[in-house]
Amino acid sequence: MANVISNVALVPGIYVMKIEGTFKGEMGQFYMLRSGTGYPLLPRPISIYDIGDEDISFLYRVVGEGTHLFSQLQSGQEIQLEGPFGNGFPQVEGSLALVGGGMGTAPLLLAAKHYPHAHVYLGFAQQAFGVDAFEAVAASVQVRVGGSIVEKVDPHLYANMFSCGPTPMLQALAMKTAGSSSRLYISTERHMACGIGACLGCTMHTRGGNKRVCKEGPVFPVEEVDFDDLHGV
């Protein structure tokens, strides 16, 4: 259990929660968060948004009961969290694009801090949020609200790309990247129970066989990903 420092809405329904303590974690890893003592039962996987010396932050959207409970937390109240889990984004050399859609922008902030030379592309369906955090650390930030952010990205310009967002966006980016020599890593999502690789609830079918999104993932090189399986759930 840890204490909430602050929990504020950036735009309606999208919050940043800052939690007190010394936490570990790399770009693309996540924590399992849980609020309250009863229902919901299972903790929720949320990517690390930012880490300070004495705090950790999460950017989340209220979609159901679990995230709703998060949004009710006030500063000083307690939250259960365990982590960091997952593989995170890899260490890469050379030019890099970070392509995020909606909530998929969350795990990219740490990457932007880690690779200040990276070009950041942020797409939002209705309303942008959290752009200034990227602008504060990144060389270049392009934003699109409505339409597809993928249209703005030219894979040929980048040795590497990290992406996270809705499956159709990821798939569009994958198709656009197919002809290029750019290496694309995408962060995937699956409903999770344990978060540590024990329950096999988050298994994803990949070209390399079954993989646990919480353990071998959530980040996979695009060649491994079976988009049919991603769409299926």
Binding site: L42, P43, I196, C199, L200
Partner: protein, 310 residues
């Protein structure tokens, strides 16, 4: 002074808290967070003779105080388990229970025979092997239209009898709450020479995705576990414990020391913890410490003092 130890079918458990099949992997992942040696025992994930890839599509869905799973017995198969997992598991000073399923009678028998043979071989080499078998009869019977082996007593009898024939390992049969008559099922297990029964496995249940107008799960139904089912599990354990004299291992939604005491009072020789592992990463350790504290506070020296008292 206080002792949590218990003995089931000749296997010593340092305490009655055992991690349930499918919720604790083979222990390795949780071992990064606390020592499995704290635990009474670990049931490994459900094994089948051959490796299984498990179900496609969504595998997990949360329900009110419960969860549905449709993992579909993804597992590396018996041979890989014996080769890759068992050495690690037996290194911990805690009971190792292998959970075995099958899609037909022959698969059950062969899987159990392999594990038994391995245990004997290891014994001759003075190495620990599997301490106990848990027979999961809640598997779809492929030859009989997919209905689980564990529904009808006489269908299950075949499995228990044949498996008993090929193994001298302590054998616990894990009962399904979907059974037509779970008490009768337990009595059958006793008749066929099982050393104990464990219950309950998950309830067959359903969740519909109303937006997509289809079941959330590829297999239509999935298994319900967690606190939601605890009151039913407790009733079933109480009924079964009254009907048989072999040990009963109780489970279903256990999430607190109070739950453990309830199952013990209902007659359970030991208990298993499943879903609660996901709720609190340190569930096992928390419950072991909590149980000890409770016994101290309540001046209960051994759980025999309260076992089956109602």
């Amino acid at each position: 002074m206080i002792s949590m130890a218990c003995n089931i079918a000749g296997v010593p458990f340092k305490n009655p808290i055992i991690m349930a099949s499918g919720t604790f992997g083979f222990g390795r992942e949780y071992a990064e967070f606390y020592s499995p040696e704290l635990l009474g025992g670990i049931v490994g994930k459900g094994l089948t003779l051959h490796p299984k890839a498990g179900n496609t599509g969504s595998r997990i869905h949360e329900t009110a105080s419960g969860m549905l799973n449709s993992v579909g017995l993804e597992n590396p198969g018996v041979a890989a388990f014996l080769k890759d997992e068992l050495d690690d598991m037996t290194r911990w000073n805690t009971a190792v229970i292998a959970n075995v399923g099958g899609s037909n009678l022959e698969e059950y028998v062969q899987a159990v025979a392999m594990i038994t043979e391995n245990a004997q071989k290891r014994r001759t080499m003075n190495r620990r092997g599997v301490d106990m078998l848990e027979l999961n009869i809640s598997c779809p019977n492929v030859k009989q239209g997919g209905m689980q082996f564990g529904i009808q007593t006489e269908v299950a009898r075949d499995v228990v009898r044949q498996v008993r024939n090929v193994t001298a390992l302590p054998l616990v049969v894990k009962l399904s709450p979907n059974a037509e008559n779970i008490t009768q099922m337990a009595v059958m297990c006793e008749e066929e020479g099982a050393d104990g029964v464990s219950l309950i496995n998950t309830f067959s249940a359903m969740k519909i995705d109303i937006r997509r107008r289809r079941s959330v799960f590829t297999n239509t139904y999935a298994g319900l576990s967690g606190p939601a089912i605890k009151p039913i599990a407790l009733r079933m354990v109480h009924q079964v414990a009254q009907a048989v004299s072999i040990p009963v291992i109780g489970m279903g939604g256990i999430s607190s020391v109070e739950d453990i005491i309830e199952f013990t009072m209902a007659g359970a020789a030991a208990i298993q913890v499943g879903t609660y592992n996901f709720v609190h990463l340190h569930a096992g350790a928390e419950l072991v410490y909590g149980l000890e504290q409770w016994m101290q506070r309540e001046k209960v020296q051994t759980l025999d003092e309260i076992r089956g008292i109602l």
